[in-house]
Symmetry: C2
């Protein structure tokens, strides 16, 4: 089949073909060293250059201020759900969480096991997460306010982030580097790589150094963000191959206009798909408020669950894969991360028209 | 250069060439799916088969009893240094640690931040870790006894493990699957993959299910081993590509005689190298007690630090890479993990003879 499919997976997700081709070409012998990059010591010159380039590309693409540390960690966003409160929700403090979907919910549940938390806002209307709340009920003197920038299951996304007195923390796992973002709004932002940045197994974290200095110094050393900041994420063996691939993806982002370029690509893809939904006369329908529509994960339903199933089956047969909605909510979901090409979305749109016309 | 080197790295370490060739061949298109395995959903059929095969290969190669869970986790052995006491060193309990090198030391330091620990034995004589202690000072009713099966920096290794009343826990990061081991001796054993099993970024854990049932239920959910056991290590997104490579390495181990086959290969390699050291008339010397010599990491010194440096430089130029001793102890270290071929060790032995004769 040789990559003649369109990968709409929600994560792990598709990677740019050029990135994989390069990884393939140098898999057996990285730059004439006679070894794969994954066989190099994480303390050797070859890997060190890759590691440092991944850090500097993060800084240049995202415009990370010098007052922030860039970390590459393990444990996924789910690990961060625990380590953020372990570091910053110390005794006597309260943290505010904005709940806009399943992942926000998991984040607050983990924080509840560690300290006192409050719900500062919700995106839920009835049974579904369909919006991004505007007005928040913030706690004066909160340790931090946690938001989820994009909700993969709900299909909602922040356009602008709330202004908060307390440090703002964002889970950007599903829209990191999909658009320019002013990093200085956040005291900490984090993202699992497996949607826009690389394979699963590495988390990108940006954290304000002065906030980091206030973190707990009594939790296990491996879970202190400062441990990793102090050692440039080489305190212990990092997931070297995942970081190498992330470096390659970031190079590709740079070659495609950086985050401005990604934003244009992603807006065009989302526009094409939402236009097809809106033009279907209700055959394809979504509960998501228009103002909250995600450019990363587009969710919709057909008139029946049987039609949902038929849609996914026929789409898969047509080489459009990964369209089944999350098991918690059903329906259809197309994830349009950076690596998805507009031509792929156009194939989906054509398929959607044909599928509807046949009914 | 095309892999015409011998990789003696201590970890991340060399992988079997056949494993990398296969990964390279299917990197762009895994089994005709049109996607790389790393682009597949961790909840889809293609990855699921890989994941399950990695689990069943672990069971068959190591002879894992049915009463044990097999886990694939993130965070490295350094993460386990914290999560083991978080799970099992609950209030009022004491854990015993046997200190046989730098990594045991790091393990106990992390445990000290969580609960009460005691040193049950040490491999230190003077300033150096040169032996495996026979007699242990064990605490009656200890939560567990922690040992490090092989010490990468010290170059020592357990032949037989202590019999303990308390649950025995072993860090096997640097000799996992290098030889047959009776799993039923241990309540928990763990290993970062990056030496004998795959790339960095995944930890293999075997844990007795009845012991797991006694673990803390108040720590963050992501750090409870039971969370991962209950979901077959799919509670959150696993490091899919690292697990895929680990699966391929385990297949390769199976094709090469399983753990009996690895033990024979590894014994032959270690024997050849120790014989060269012992036959050098003291030019190559090691403090390590003969009974404690590691088959995985062979450490030695030359008559001066200048000669150590010259040795490493000339060896590197001759395509024998990764021989510099750990920065904590200096000298020379050759890591002879599963993927290193006997022919590679013979090249090193020849080089050692030539180097000595030139002096």
């Amino acid at each position: 089949m040789a990559r003649d499919i369109v990968n709409f997976n929600a994560g792990p997700a598709g990677l740019p073909t050029a990135v994989l081709e390069r990884a393939q070409a140098e898999l057996m012998d990285f730059q004439g060293t006679g070894m794969s990059i994954m066989e190099h010591s994480h303390r050797g010159k070859a890997y060190d250059a890759v590691h440092n380039e991944a850090m500097s590309l993060t800084r240049s693409l995202m415009g990370v201020p010098d007052s922030y540390d860039v970390l590459f960690l393990q444990g996924g966003a789910s690990g961060m759900f625990a380590t953020i409160p372990m570091n910053f929700l110390t005794a006597g403090k309260v943290a505010d969480y904005v709940i806009t979907g399943t992942w926000s919910q998991k984040a607050i549940e983990e924080a509840q096991r560690i300290g006192e938390v409050r719900v500062a806002g919700t995106g839920k209307v009835g049974e579904r997460f369909v919006r991004i709340p505007e007005a928040l009920d913030l706690t004066p003197g909160a340790a931090y306010v946690h938001v989820t920038s994009n909700n993969t299951i709900a299909g909602t996304q922040y356009r602008a982030f709330p202004k908060t007195e307390a440090p703002l923390v964002a889970d950007m796992s599903s829209d990191i580097m999909s658009r320019p973002v002013d990093v200085s709004q956040f005291s900490l932002l984090y993202a699992g790589a497996q949607k826009n940045l690389g394979p699963s197994g590495v988390v990108l974290v940006l954290v304000r150094r002065d906030w980091l200095a206030q973190a707990s110094t009594t939790i296990p050393k491996i879970f202190r963000f400062k441990t990793h900041a102090d050692k440039q994420s080489l305190y212990h063996t990092p997931p070297t191959f995942a970081i190498y691939l992330m470096r390659n993806v970031m190079q590709w982002i740079g070659e495609h206009g950086g985050l401005e370029g990604m934003a244009k690509r992603n807006a065009a893809k989302a526009e094409a798909l939402y236009a097809a939904i809106d033009a279907s006369g209700g055959f394809y329908a979504s509960d998501v408020e228009v103002a909250a529509r995600s450019e990363m994960n587009v969710v919709w339903r057909l008139p029946s669950e049987d039609l949902d199933k038929a849609f996914v089956a026929e789409a898969t047969a047509a080489g459009l894969v990964g369209l089944k909605g999350h098991r918690d909510v059903g329906g259809i979901r197309a994830s349009l991360y950076n690596a998805v090409e507009l031509a792929g979305v156009e194939r989906l749109v054509t398929f959607m028209k044909d599928f509807k016309n046949k009914r």
